[in-house]
C-alpha cells in the first residue's frame, strides 16, 4: 500500500511542524488522549469488549507518575514506567474479574471497579484528594533532554505516541490480533477451535490498560499535575466517545476522534455545560447515523469507490489485505434480537 506510506510520511511531517502552527500544549493533550483512545480501542474494536472504566488506568497511572517524579524525585522515564506498571497491575486485577462476564455486564463491572479506584484516589493521602498532585517536575529525560522546554516535551510525547501506536498496529496485525478478532466475531467458535479465550481476553485487557496508563503518565508530565478529573467516570465516557466518533476497530480512528473531541473541549471550555451537551449529541448522532465512525466510513467509501473502478474479480477481499481495515467491522455482530424492532 504505497498510499499508506505516503499518508504516513505526510502525517510525520505534519506532526513535526504542527507545534509551530498550533498551540503545543493543546497538541500534547490531544496526543495523550489519542494514545489513550487507541489503547481503549484495542479492547473495544478488536475484542468487542466495551470497558466503561478505563479512566481508572489513565488517571491512576497519572497519580503514580506524579508521585514518583515529585516525591521520590525519579527521572521522567522511570516515573512514566512506574505509572505504566501500576496501570498494568490494576489492569490485571480488573481484567481477571471483568472478563468473567460479557457485553453489558462487562461494561457495568468495569464501571463499578473504576468507581472504586475513584473513591480510593479521593481518600488516599498521596493523591492529595481534590487538590491533586501539583507542580510535578518534568525533569530531564535520560538526564539528557530537558523536558521543561515545551518543544522537547512535545517531541517526547510524540515519540511515546508513535511508539504506542506502532505497538498497537503490530499487535492487531499479528496472529494474536487475529485470534482476538476471531473472539470478537464468534467467541464460541474460537473456544471450540481450542483457543483459551479467557487468556487472550485478559492479555488484551492488560495491554490496553498498560497503554492507557502510559498515556496517563505522559499527560501527568505535560500538565504537571494529576487530578481527580482523570479518574472520574466522565473520562471513561470521553474515551468511548473518541473511539466511537473516530471509528472503532480502525487503527487511526481513535486518533481522529481524540483530536476532534479535545478540540471541542478546548473551544467550548468557556461555555460551561455545553461541552457535556455537545458530547451527548455526538454520541447519539454517531450511534444512530454512522456507527463506523469517521475513519470507518471513509474506509468504506474508499473501498466502494475502488470496487467500482476495478473489476471485482481482481480485488482480493478487503479483510485479507494487510493495512486496510475491513469495512464490515462495525457493529460487532453478536446480536441477539430481543424486543421487536424495525
Amino acid at each position: 500500500m504505497r498510499l499508506y506510506w505516503i499518508a504516513l510520511a505526510v502525517a510525520a511531517v505534519a506532526a513535526v511542524f504542527a507545534p509551530t502552527v498550533l498551540y503545543p500544549v493543546f497538541l500534547m493533550k490531544a496526543l495523550c488522549f489519542a494514545l489513550f483512545a487507541c489503547a481503549f480501542n484495542l479492547l473495544l474494536g478488536y475484542v468487542g469488549l466495551l470497558s466503561f472504566g478505563h479512566a481508572a488506568f489513565f488517571g491512576f497511572a497519572a497519580y503514580a507518575t506524579g508521585h514518583a517524579a515529585k516525591v521520590w524525585g525519579w527521572n521522567p522515564e522511570f516515573a512514566v514506567l512506574a505509572g505504566t506498571a501500576v496501570a498494568t497491575g490494576l489492569g490485571l486485577a480488573f481484567g481477571a474479574l471483568a472478563i468473567r462476564r460479557q457485553g453489558i455486564y462487562f461494561a457495568m463491572i468495569t464501571l463499578a471497579l473504576a468507581q472504586m479506584v475513584y473513591f480510593f484516589s479521593l481518600q488516599a493521602p498521596f493523591t492529595h484528594g481534590e487538590d491533586g498532585i501539583q507542580a510535578i517536575p518534568r525533569g530531564e529525560l535520560f538526564g539528557l533532554f530537558d523536558l521543561r522546554n515545551t518543544e522537547t516535551m512535545y517531541f517526547f510525547v510524540l515519540a511515546v505516541f508513535a511508539g504506542g501506536l506502532w505497538l498497537i498496529w503490530r499487535t492487531v496485525h499479528s496472529p494474536f490480533g487475529q485470534v482476538l478478532k476471531a473472539i470478537r466475531e464468534n467467541e464460541q467458535r474460537a473456544v471450540s477451535l481450542g483457543y483459551k479465550v479467557d487468556h487472550y481476553k485478559l492479555t488484551a485487557f492488560v495491554m490496553s490498560a498498560a497503554l492507557s496508563g502510559l498515556a496517563g503518565s505522559v499527560k501527568a508530565l505535560v500538565f504537571q499535575l494529576a487530578s481527580l478529573t482523570d479518574v472520574h467516570w466522565h473520562t471513561s465516557g470521553e474515551v468511548v466517545l473518541m473511539t466511537l466518533l473516530g471509528g472503532m476497530g480502525t487503527v487511526l480512528g481513535p486518533v481522529v476522534g481524540a483530536f476532534l473531541v479535545v478540540t471541542v473541549q478546548n473551544y467550548f471550555a468557556t461555555f460551561g455545560a455545553w461541552v457535556t451537551i455537545i458530547q451527548g449529541v455526538i454520541f447519539v448522532v454517531v450511534v444512530l447515523l454512522f456507527r463506523r465512525g469517521i475513519v470507518g466510513e471513509l474506509n468504506a467509501l474508499w473501498l466502494r469507490l475502488r470496487r467500482r473502478s476495478v473489476p471485482a474479480a481482481t480485488t482480493p477481499p478487503a479483510a485479507a489485505r494487510p493495512g486496510v481495515e475491513p469495512a464490515a467491522h462495525e457493529p460487532p455482530p453478536r446480536k441477539r434480537r430481543v424486543g421487536e424492532g424495525s
Binding site: 463491572i109 447519539v284 424486543g339
Partner: protein
Amino acid sequence: MFELIGIPPQALFGQLLLGLINGAFYAVLSLGLALIFGLLNIINFTHGAQYMMGAFVAWLMLRYAGIGYWPSLIVAPVVVAVVGIVIERLLLRRLYHLDHLYGLLLTFGLALIIEGTFRQIYGISGQPYAIPKELSGGYDLGFMFLPTYRAWVVLASLAACLGTWLLIEKTRLGAYLRAGTENATLVRAFGVNVPVMVTLTYGFGVALAAFAGVLAAPIYSVNPLMGSNLIIVVFAVVVIGGMGSILGSVITGYALGLIEGLTKVFYPEASSTVIFIIMAIVLLIKPAGLFGRAT
C-alpha cells in the same frame, strides 16, 4: 449498658432503619432497570437522568403551577414516562437489531444531553423542595427520631415494588411481558403486539425512576447531577442481584441499603465503596449474580 462492638443496640436499629430507607431508592431504581433490561436488553444509562427529571418536574410544577407534592407523585412520573416513550420510539427502536452495547452508548449520550441541559438552565447548586405538610414532623421511637417522611419513603417504595411485582406475576399483561422476555418472536406469533409492549415497558421503567426522583426531592436537593453518581451504585446493585428476576433486584436493593447502613456505623470511610467490593466478591463466586441465571 450492653453494647455491640462499641455501638449501643438502639443506635444500631436506627442505622438499620436508615439503611432500609436508602435501600428503598436502590430497590425502586434497580427494579426499573431490571424491567427495561428484561424486555429490551438495554441497560438504560439514562435512568439516573430520568430520576433527576422526576424530581425536577415536581419542582417545576410547584414553582410555576403551584401543584403540590401529592399530584406530582403521579404526574411527574407520567410526564417523564412520556418523554421516555418518545425516546424509545424515535431513537432506541432503531438499535434493537444491533449489539446491545449501542443501546448503552445511546442512553449514555442522552444522559449527558439531559444533565447538561438542566445544568445549563438551572445551575447546579440545587433547588429547595419542602416536605409536604402532611408528612413533616416525625416519631420519637426511643432509639431515634424517625421523620415521618422517611417512613413514607419506605412504604411508598415497598408499595411500588409490590405493585409492579403483582402486575408482572398476576396479570395477563404481565404474563405477556414475561413471555416476551423469554422469546419475543414466539409471543409475536401469538398475535401480541410486542413493539407496543416494549414501548410501554420502557415507559413504565422510566416512570419508576421518576417516581423515585419525586420521593427523593424533599430529602435531597433537587439538582441536575443528583442521579449521575447514584446510577453507578445502582448498576452495581444490579450486577450483584443478577438481572434474572424482578424480585431479585428488589431484594438486593433493600439488602445493600442495609449493608451500606451498617458500614456507615462501623467503617464509614468505606461506605461509598462497600457495594463495589461486594460486587467484586459476588462476581468471583457467582459470576451471574445472586439471583441471575447462568448464561
